[in-house]
Symmetry: C2
Subunit: 700 residues, 2 copies
Amino acid sequence: MNSSAAQLSLGSFLRPQAVALLGASDKSAFSRSAFTAAKALGFTERLYMVNRSATPAHGKPAVKRCIDLGTAVDTAVVMLPAEAVPDALSDAAEAGIRNAVLLASGYGETGAAGAALQAELLAHARRLGMRIMGPNCLGFINYLDGIAACAMRSDIPPRPGPMAIVSQSGAIGSGISRFAHQQGIGISHLVCTGNEIDLDVSSIADGLLDDERVRSIVMFIETVRNPDRFIAMAQRARRLERPVVVLKIGSSELTAKVAQAHTGALVGDDRVFDEVCRKHGVIRVNSIEDAAITGSLVAYTGPVKRGALGVVSISGGACEIIADAAEREGVPLAEFAPETMAELREVMSAFATLHNPLDITGAVVRDPALFERTLAIVARDPGIGLVGCVQALPANETHQVGANRELLLHVARGLNAAPVPGVMVNQAMTPVTDVGAQAIIDSGLSHVTGGLDAFVGAVGRVFRWSRSLGETTETARLPAPADAHPTSEHETLNYLASRGVQVMPAELVTSAAAAAAAAKRIGGAVVVKIASADIAHKSDICGVLLNLHGEEAAATGYATVISNARARRPDARIDGAIVAPMRSGGLELIVGFARDPVWGAVLAMGMGGVWVEILKDTQLRLLPLTQTDVIAALEQLRASKLLKGYRGTPAADLQAVAEAIVRIGEAALALGPDLAALEVNPLYVNGSHVEALDALAVWN
Amino acid sequence: MNSSAAQLSLGSFLRPQAVALLGASDKSAFSRSAFTAAKALGFTERLYMVNRSATPAHGKPAVKRCIDLGTAVDTAVVMLPAEAVPDALSDAAEAGIRNAVLLASGYGETGAAGAALQAELLAHARRLGMRIMGPNCLGFINYLDGIAACAMRSDIPPRPGPMAIVSQSGAIGSGISRFAHQQGIGISHLVCTGNEIDLDVSSIADGLLDDERVRSIVMFIETVRNPDRFIAMAQRARRLERPVVVLKIGSSELTAKVAQAHTGALVGDDRVFDEVCRKHGVIRVNSIEDAAITGSLVAYTGPVKRGALGVVSISGGACEIIADAAEREGVPLAEFAPETMAELREVMSAFATLHNPLDITGAVVRDPALFERTLAIVARDPGIGLVGCVQALPANETHQVGANRELLLHVARGLNAAPVPGVMVNQAMTPVTDVGAQAIIDSGLSHVTGGLDAFVGAVGRVFRWSRSLGETTETARLPAPADAHPTSEHETLNYLASRGVQVMPAELVTSAAAAAAAAKRIGGAVVVKIASADIAHKSDICGVLLNLHGEEAAATGYATVISNARARRPDARIDGAIVAPMRSGGLELIVGFARDPVWGAVLAMGMGGVWVEILKDTQLRLLPLTQTDVIAALEQLRASKLLKGYRGTPAADLQAVAEAIVRIGEAALALGPDLAALEVNPLYVNGSHVEALDALAVWN
């Protein structure tokens, strides 16, 4: 599909002038929901009823066929069962309708037969020149323009705002929307895309980026059906500095099973998706609440200039909870600068302890302007990029007493005067009631959120996202293809050497005498290992002997590994044995290339031994990579301290390590799509001495 | 203080028949709040006004002195400033009032002068025979009996229920209470204890355990002022199988600073408090939301019999989010038993995929009874201890359409028929509105909570707490005191040996010749180490030589370590050197005794090297310990896999390791309170061979 055509069509898709409900009926729950949503948005004038018997629905007349409507309609919401959908599309196309929202289920989500039906449906729509949302979807609400083409109810009163919600699941999309509504978060669009035979979450999000009024996009994703489109959308969002917040399931093994059952979606390796998000500046969250709270906060703040939080509160307890949460979430609470301290000393009592989070104590009840003064000072601190003020929003009239009203006024003034984004934070994740909403308007507050933990978590995401925008995106080299097909250790090491990776000077020998001669040439202690493309795990068959001293030991070693291999793997073709110098005293890394079925080539790296085997301490990166990327990845390892020198092992030359890892990645990419995996284990590191000691390639 | 006297007094404290407001005034915000709360609870008849001028307040007459009230009053709420408090107490005592709630601030939280004032106040109250809540507190509301003695507003309508809230901070106590109210969680008491010169959170919680109507106690704690009282309360709660949920700040370093500023509280090592909670079955949470949601859930479920969750939902997306959250939170989702599968197959469509969480799909909209049938089947599964049904509670009349109403009825029937606790779960942490509350009553739902992540987290806590009740609490031995004062390595090892710990057969020698002779007696490779009580870190001064072979090497080694020590630490008294057998090939553990200023003797244990130095992988336990305790602790180490045998190292004999660690703990305890620390590093483990290779004691 041509992407500019897709966008062109998408604009009209989310902003139709008129919508026809196909299968409109007072008896249908879908139809009632559709009408109710349209009514809440004042859209019923432009909503037309179509059904087989031309029976009036929802108090409006109906026609039998779209062509009978006698007016231009952009979008058909098809509420008929699967078997009636093809004819309905033909009818709509005949009337010039180019967009259809298909609610019917019974397609890909039910198994192979449904998937075939779905493919036929898509072909039919293509022939008619129609764009499709669904099937098995709930459609969309465009709050900004007051349009509903859906089987969802709009919460009342609608709260239009800058945050879009795009979800594959109707239930979760509605769930995020309802939570947002109750938290007072304004929504621009709610789009539920279902089985996505045509439009998917990525194309919808891409279309939403065209709308300047949309300041953040929150997505719920079960599976990314078109990875290229997702990445292109994410890259565009990043260029535009418009945040994309993704709640994607699949972190558990069980989820993979559940998701297969649910929409026939295949859930890829969740860690790879984490890396996709990291690389492309997508904010990932784990819960519905965090999705809405983060999406709303970042829509308000946009990118922030400095990555530390400042907090002012009347409650010492709240200050402490925030300090704990900030440590858990890795959110820096800036130490106040000397000038901030000096200014605070002027306005605060002599007893007060001045640090961030700042507890201004109950003194503010007697002197509400203290909120304004302290917030203004804290927000000017040169280290602070976002300022929060913990204060309760009234939920009902009994809370909204005069004193609270005045406090809120001062909070709002202090926050609004800040040169950085200022947020009022409810102590808990409590709803914004009508009284609360009015209090926000009356006091002039710009942004209100809660609770403390959710706020701190969202701030951390805003900081990391803002920082990621500033990261230079050096382009990594894509290597020239190689005409090679290495498999065994020896072939793979030789191939790596040909691609600029320093490898151990190993010799392939085919006799005990040759092993002795090789040991003599190498000098010092040697290693003797079985050489066979058929034996991947040499240690398992006692095919590796370490630390052999002298020619005789090498010769005996040769005989031993050959006989062990023959005894334990009589089927294996044996090429001989490898004699190589014994390395010791350094660190051993593992570097592994693999191919994710959805996202393509990735490289995993980590320290060997317990670090990878017990602690699973590896970093995963999409290929290709630059040295800067690799160094940043290595620094994320828990074992990174070892690379900086530990207990007599010298600090690793990170540039040299990164260069080797970049080259391993390039070498693997150059072997083309049939290479399934390539592992260097270990990559020996001793200061600047970086050398692949063993390697193996696996082909499809 | 006598604890039975404390309880006796406490009963009347939280359940007064009549309350006097001292300093009652229409102009005072405190006074208005007090009256508003009493009014919401219908308590104004029993609320009496006292002020200096006998000016009527809140529409009620006032008297100048308590004695003039002419009626029996149990409790005085003193809303006067600090300087007026002593006279007010005298006045109240004269009128026979025995309990006082003191709101005034300006005491211990402001510094040393305030702390002195506070001490005087306590002495005054003791002389008068009065019990005190506060000062610097907001008092309490007893929802179950409709009593308010506080400066907090009760949310309206009050929702009495089984969960008590006890908080040192008034702001956080109110915050938990307001969040609970908005989530539809019923509250038994809200008690804010402030500076706690007399009654503290532990004594209040202990008193609440006397009230059978209170099914869970949620506490916010900045500092535990009386550890023994806290532990006694926790132990009693555990015996009664009544859950205590604690939100305690102090997990961050910053918090320690903030808390000192806030209430003069000293925040102990947070990991020790984690251990206190683990040991005594206290549920610990990190946020206001989790405190309320967990407290409410566990009040409803009580202890559950099986530790796995079953879930039924109309939304596949919700199933997936729950599966992911369950993996993160370590909550088992039971695989359905064969009989469950067979029963589900009978009621579910042929397309349906049957696993837990169970997605019953939109099919339930056409057949609402499917909820009831599937919930009943899932709840009967022999592996499941708690069943959740994800379904939205209506928030307003537009949600509450006929179809939803019928769905809720079937959800409630299915959950109520379950032989295990059944919970309806909102997709997000959305409030329970009046419409929602009515829907709960109409449908007969027993418990409603949300969102998905908070629910799963709370379920995990209920499971762990329930399991902890079943753990046998074998009593650990308290050792007989030892008359010893070991300091140096040699003395400490000898002392440990005398307490039954196997130690390395080391010899203290004072000449090169003696070192050679010792090496001969020992045989094989030896270690030579400097022996000096003044040198704690022997390696740092090159005072340790490993792997010396033969008598000559031992003799040279002796000379080397002595000369190194003399050169680098000329001040140190040198006792000679230790010659000991070289151990290799096994594992090295670290066992460290320390004394927490609040909670007393603790023992840390972990694997040496990177495990403790980089990964901080240690377990902390309060002393004394049994072998069972130690084995359970070792199994919590991330390094525990190493103990089970790894890469040629044999599996450790856990009984032998645990016995050694128990004896080290006993040996340390036996040295009495002047011992500050005692570390065995390493404790060598090779199969059943467990031996202290080095040790050091540090005294106050």
